[in-house]
């Protein structure tokens, strides 16, 4: 069951395909047989938002009690007066004000100084490490979410267990366990006006791909058609957000709305993943207003709307933001920030032990920094991811999800209520 997509491509694909064998197909066939049913509406859900481009954790969760923060950022620091204070030392960027009531309700927590033990400042390496869950190891073929799905299989048989929103399947979901990429829920499936004709064409393509040679084409199409069938029954075209939830215009709002839709449709969604970009603020980052502020405003509004829309269903939902690394403590020559090390993440939802800043704050003094310039990492991201998998989703074997790493409850931050 450990045959990964990468291993398949790397070592065996040519020979095996020419023999008509297909390890990925075999692996996935085994999944279909292995899952007993559980009531979908009782299932916990994790929503991961990847802030690609490295969000400036220091301007997202502002250490307004640190003089060094203001010294190093004369042009882009968020003034004390406009920070939404959390605990007297840290505060939310003013654009995230819509989240303050969630903090007060103890369902929002912020994790500071979190990141990778690997020192890379390459977006692509760091994103890869965060998605594979193996910092420093480039040969890992599958993502940690997919490995979780490989090893914890006590769930109903559903193609919607792990879903990425976007045209491409991200690394974090790649691997031998089935996962789905959906660009747009409304348009998912074959576009034929009449239902009978659509069903017929769907069956024809289904049959064509049943005989496809390579694993990825065959298994991806099978998962796709299964999902089409389930969506048809759930009928998402009739969806209206609840409680007047108002998602902001743009990709992120639309994606979170569709995730809420899938959660309420009870199709068995366990892990949803979405990208949200625009964080690589090398130039004119802005402070209370400006480029980063606009991105954070969209994030805050989208998360608040999602929370409102799901209402009581949030009792089983955790939303986690993540980003490959943080940015330099000192602003650069262009009123922006360059690639740094530790960043901040947000965890939101009923199961979150909220209203608290989690993790150990290393300080911003020169000797407290990583390589003299960046926020030091005091929490390995795997400690947080591992805790959420174990305490929220009920993962039993973190060792296989994060190979080469021994997660220990002693290092958990207490992000999930006990």
């Amino acid at each position: 069951m450990t045959i990964s997509r990468r291993v398949f491509v790397r070592s065996g694909s040519l020979a095996l395909v020419s023999l008509g064998l297909d390890p990925l197909f075999l692996a996935r066939a085994a999944f279909a047989a292995g899952r007993p049913a559980v009531r979908a509406s009782d299932r916990p859900t994790l929503v991961c938002l990847f802030q690609r481009g490295a969000v400036d954790g220091l301007n997202m969760i502002v250490p307004h009690g640190e003089p060094a923060y203001y010294q190093e950022r004369p042009r882009i620091a968020v003034p004390t007066g406009s920070v939404v204070d959390l605990d007297g030392h840290f505060g939310l960027h003013p654009s995230l004000a819509p989240l303050k009531e969630l903090w007060d309700a103890k369902s929002l927590a912020a994790i500071h100084a979190i990141g990778s033990p690997d020192a890379t400042r390459s977006h692509f390496d760091a994103q890869d490490y965060m998605e594979t869950g193996t910092p420093g190891v480039k040969t890992t073929g599958d993502g940690w979410v997919n490995r979780y799905c490989q090893h914890d299989r006590e769930h109903a048989d559903t193609p919607f267990r792990a879903v990425a929103f976007g045209p491409q399947l991200p690394r974090i979901l790649a691997g031998s366990a089935p996962s789905l990429a959906i660009d747009d829920l409304q348009a998912f499936g074959l576009r034929v006006p009449q239902e009978a004709a659509r069903d017929r064409l769907t069956r024809a393509f289904e049959e064509l791909y049943d005989g496809a040679g390579t694993g990825l084409l065959a298994s991806s199409s099978r998962e796709g058609f299964e999902a089409v069938q389930m969506l048809k029954r759930a009928d998402p075209t009739q969806y209206r957000p609840a409680a007047g939830a108002d998602y902001p215009p743009g990709r992120l709002g639309k994606t979170l709305l569709q995730i809420a839709q899938l959660i309420k449709a009870d199709v068995g969604l366990e892990i949803a993943f979405a990208d949200c970009g625009g964080w690589d603020t090398h130039v004119n980052q802005g402070s209370s207003d400006g480029q980063l502020a606009a991105r954070l405003r969209e994030l805050g509004l989208a998360l608040a709307a999602f929370n409102r829309d799901l209402g009581d269903r949030m009792r089983n939902v955790v939303v986690l933001t993540m980003s490959e690394f943080g940015r330099t403590i000192r602003e650069n020559g262009n009123s922006g920030t360059d690639h740094g090390h530790a960043t901040a993440m947000l965890a939101l939802g009923g199961p979150v032990n909220g209203g608290r800043l989690l993790g150990r704050w290393p300080g911003l003094a020169l000797e407290q920094r990583f390589e003299g310039r960046d926020v030091a990492v005091t929490t390995d991201f795997r400690d947080l991811f591992g805790e959420i998998l174990a305490r929220h989703l009920g993962a039993t074997d973190l060792g296989t999800v994060f190979p080469g790493y021994t997660p220990s409850p002693g290092r958990f931050l207490g992000a999930i209520r006990g």
Partner: protein, 514 residues
């Protein structure tokens, strides 16, 4: 050639020709596998490598419809500046009057949005129609290797000259020339922020009229105080990092954070003129760091722009660069996980010729790895390759509407719109997933309606055989044939039968491969 012949017994001449057309070209047009086989596949490959001597009159005729090719960069820059000013004026007015419809109705940047669309359409027309297929494939390769995101500020109008004047003329030239050209093409220093990287403590000479900050010229609506504060005051590492990681040495190329800083210092002053002066590349002496820079065992000091040129020449011929770029080429042309043999052959040719791209490609195409039956039809097409090969196979003349570019975008590859400097990926794991496959099936059904390379004949068995020959050079699997025939069983209208059969063939698994 003996070794080559010994590796090829499993491939018939037509299979070899189809393979070459799938990899060096955007797929075969009907009958082309046979004609290339007859001409001699190695001879055809040589002709493709010698693109300048291939006549391309039909494409030239079609290119005339693209006004974008007549635009001058300075001209565009001026229009961009005007549009930007108009946008700012409208924005102020909208704020003052509270009328949010002003912006929506006037859409001052519309011209530049359409410019990006035209560029995409042009790329598809060229890929579909050019007789110099390998050059088009390489233009796409380098466009991704040296990726620039068209949506970033001034790159909206800088991209046409980047593609036409920087990438295209050098796609089959020398790597070193291409590398240097990209570094000096205004689109790149703007995209990777080098335009604003200046030596700490340096200051622009008193402006003649207008000068810095660049940003103001490129579209921020600011107050004077902010303007002053936003003047660049130090280095920006962005270009330096991607130059090493993506353009040359590769992420495992053995450089450090300190190396990146030194490289960034070397490139201080590599900038661009403001739009009112044409937005051309400029080396700003005052912004250049005159101090000593040490990197990769070399020392650079007070040698102005030549420092950067010297460094680029050095990087272009490092072993790590040769290996990184050769492996990437082999991933494109041979297999997602290319065997070492073809990479080594490419590196050897690179070394021997100091980076002559034709020689490197020739080494790959004559490597036994390129011709092993296992790699044939083993690669999944990218969205662009899928759409263009479908056009070629079905004999559809790409029109000038945005329809085809939108189709490629819907499949996940909106051309020139990759914000990350990596460009679009080449391998199957990035493109194959259930949602994307469904989108390809929809695209196939849409394209099939216009198919002109297969007549609508009544006999279903003959129809399917013909589709196999015209669209897949006879490589359609028995399974695909039988499924299509089954689906046709109760269809009597020949037009309807053809549309369904062609759609299933294009959307099915066989046509996803190359």
């Amino acid at each position: 050639m003996f070794a080559l012949a010994a590796q090829m017994p499993a491939l018939t001449p037509r299979d070899s020709a189809f393979h070459a057309l799938n990899r060096l070209a955007y797929g075969a047009r009907p009958g082309e596998a046979d004609s290339v086989a007859q001409f001699g596949v190695m001879k055809w490959i040589e002709r493709q490598l010698d693109a300048d001597h291939v006549s391309d009159a039909r494409l030239a005729e079609r290119e005339r419809a693209f006004k974008i090719l007549e635009y001058d960069r300075a001209d565009l820059a001026g229009r961009y500046r005007d549009a930007e000013r108009e946008r700012q004026r409208l924005q102020r007015e909208a704020v003052a009057t509270g009328d949010s419809t002003l912006m929506r109705d006037a859409r001052p940047m519309q011209e530049f949005r359409e410019l990006g669309g035209q560029l995409q359409q042009l790329a598809i027309v060229r890929a579909a129609l050019s007789e110099r297929q390998l050059r088009e494939v390489m233009v796409d390769f380098w466009t991704n290797h040296f990726n620039v995101f068209v949506g970033k500020g001034a790159d909206r109008f800088l991209l046409p000259s980047y593609i036409e004047e920087t990438i295209r003329p050098r796609a089959l030239g020398r790597f070193e020339d291409l590398l240097i050209a990209t570094a000096q093409s205004p689109a790149m220093p703007f995209y990777l922020d080098n335009a604003q990287s200046v030596a700490p403590g340096s200051a622009a000479p008193p402006p003649r009229g207008s000068f810095f900050p660049l940003r103001r010229r490129f579209g921020m609506n600011e107050m004077p105080e902010e303007r002053r504060q936003r003047r660049p005051t130090g280095i920006n590492e962005n270009y330096a990092r991607e130059l090493l990681e993506l353009h040359t040495l590769g992420v495992d190329g053995g450089y450090t954070q300190q190396d990146i800083i030194e490289v960034a210092r070397i490139f201080t002053g590599w900038s661009i003129e403001p739009p009112e002066r044409g937005a051309g590349f400029v080396f700003r002496d005052w912004a250049h760091d005159r101090g000593t820079k040490q990197v990769f065992g070399l020392t650079f000091q007070d040698d102005g722009k030549d420092e950067g040129i010297r460094l680029l020449k050095f990087l272009a011929n490092q072993h790590a660069t040769m290996h990184h770029v050769s492996a990437k080429l082999c991933t494109r042309f041979v297999a997602d996980e290319p065997p070492d043999g073809c990479i080594d052959a490419a590196v050897a040719a690179w070394q021997k010729t100091r980076g002559d791209i034709r020689a490197v490609l020739r080494a790959i195409f004559t490597s036994p790895d390129f011709w092993t039956p296992q790699v044939v039809r083993s690669k999944v097409k990218t969205p662009l390759e899928f759409v263009v090969s479908a056009l070629r196979a079905t004999g559809i003349e790409p029109d000038t509407s945005p329809r085809l570019a939108q189709l490629v975008a819907r499949l996940g590859e909106p051309l020139y719109q990759q914000p990350a400097p990596t460009g679009y990926a080449e391998t199957e794991v990035h493109w194959v997933n259930s949602g994307a496959l469904l989108a390809r099936m929809n695209a196939a059904m849409a394209i099939a309606k216009d198919c002109s390379s297969v007549p609508a004949i009544e006999d279903h068995a003959q129809l399917v055989d013909l589709i196999d020959r015209q669209l897949l050079a006879g490589t359609m699997s028995a399974h695909t044939k039988s499924v299509i025939l089954e689906q046709l069983a109760d269809i009597t209208d020949p037009m309807q039968a053809r549309a369904l059969a062609v759609g299933l063939a294009l959307g099915g698994p066989d046509f996803q491969k190359q």
